[in-house]
């Protein structure tokens, strides 16, 4: 890969000895090789998809706050997260309305949330309030999935609450616990 000397020097004319002009070009091939090697290394080691942060706001647990308004049962929807990636939902108070077992995902929970959200909006004129109650058998992915569904379906008001014994009984009865 040696460079050909294209400068036509070195013909002695007139007897004067001229100093040979050296070419100013440097062979960059090796340098480029090295640069690309390093680029490849850094490209392969960097993680391109950065993890994302999903903000979660929990309801204030302070016992002193007394200015909490009760939510009408007609517009509150409760989601019970059970075992084996199953979720049960009902509207209103536990025991009074029968829960429906559903699965996570596009055709399960998301459809329900959109439909019920619209129904409640029409019948009461207010937005739906969703209570997320993960049982001890549910896993972290289920919780994240449900919060994600809230963001996708645009539920304005939701909260993660502890599950009540009566609701655990419902899950047990339907074999989701």
């Amino acid at each position: 890969m040696a460079e050909l000397d294209t400068s036509g020097g070195g013909k002695h004319k007139g007897g004067k000895v001229r100093s040979k002009k050296a070419s100013t070009r440097v062979d960059l091939t090796a340098m480029v090789d090295l640069a690309f090697l390093l680029i490849t290394f850094f490209m392969l080691t960097t993680t391109l998809s950065k993890p994302k942060a999903m903000d979660l706001v929990m309801p204030d647990k302070d016992e002193k706050t007394k200015d909490q308004l009760p939510v009408a049962a007609s517009r509150s929807m409760t989601l019970l997260l059970g075992a084996n990636n199953k979720v049960e939902w009902f509207i209103g108070e536990p025991g009074k309305s029968q829960p429906t077992t559903d699965n996570y995902g596009k055709n399960g929970l998301r459809k329900t949330l959109i439909e019920k959200g619209k129904e409640i909006q029409q019948s009461t004129g207010k937005y739906m309030v969703v209570l997320i109650k993960p049982s001890d058998k549910s896993n972290y992915k289920n919780v994240v999935d449900v919060i994600d569904e809230m963001n996708i379906t645009g539920v304005q008001s939701y909260a993660i609450v502890d599950i009540m014994p009566a609701e655990l009984e419902l899950l047990k009865r339907d074999g989701n616990y």
Binding site: V32, A35, K52, A53, D55, V57, K141, I147, D162
Partner: protein, 205 residues
């Protein structure tokens, strides 16, 4: 018939432009590269449609896997000062070398009485060491809560800003562990935090 003389051309190509581009890209990748912190336990994070990237600094991350909690906070100065305050609180002494080592430790999950021994290990030994996680279960022995509180105090005193708290949990992690962790945070009146997720393609509504 005269022979046509083909002029011999130089075989070398001008590499200057190529070299420029290569080094430009190299600089870019070096500057954007961030040393990957290896989690002590394999953590498979869930996917969501959130597009908000996690901030680069001022983060306190709690990594949860196999019912163990690991603690990591950004900033060497914050880590060092947090360790000093924790050693005062628990009466565990650390040598300046151990403090220096701790300030370069991205993530750890050992109880404070084992921490000195853990810091004395070299990098290989630390990797092999099975970290038991930071105690967080009982109210009497809640070191995790103290670590979080001290780190928040240090961040306020050193940089005058509020630490952002995030939870990085494994997909298969059972909810009670997360619930306990949220309980710890809520006791300190932290009602807003972030869950670390990977990107999932935007669903069609």
């Amino acid at each position: 018939m005269p022979r046509v003389k083909v002029q011999r051309k130089s075989t070398s190509i001008d590499m200057t432009a190529m070299c420029d581009v290569a080094f430009l890209l190299l600089t870019f990748f070096i500057l954007t590269a961030k040393p990957k912190t290896e989690d002590p336990v394999p953590v498979d994070i869930p996917a969501s449609t959130t597009v908000l990237p996690i901030p680069d600094d001022n983060m306190l991350m709690l990594t949860v896997g196999q019912s163990k909690v690991y603690f990591s906070v950004d900033g060497n100065d914050i880590r060092k000062q947090t360790l000093i305050q924790m050693s005062d609180k628990y009466g565990v002494k650390f040598t300046p070398e151990q403090q220096e080592k701790f300030s370069g430790l991205p993530i750890f999950g050992v109880p404070i009485n084992q921490l000195a021994g853990f810091l004395d290990l070299d990098a290989e030994g630390r990797k092999a060491f099975k970290q038991p996680g930071i105690p967080h279960d009982t109210t009497a022995n809640n070191e995790l809560s103290d670590w979080i509180r001290e780190a928040r105090r240090v961040d306020v005193s050193l940089h005058n800003r509020a630490l952002r708290i995030s939870i990085k949990g494994d997909n298969k992690e059972e909810y009670p562990t997360i619930k306990k962790l949220i309980g710890v945070l809520q006791k300190q009146k932290i009602n807003k935090f972030a869950l670390i997720t990977t990107i999932k393609s935007d669903p069609k509504k």
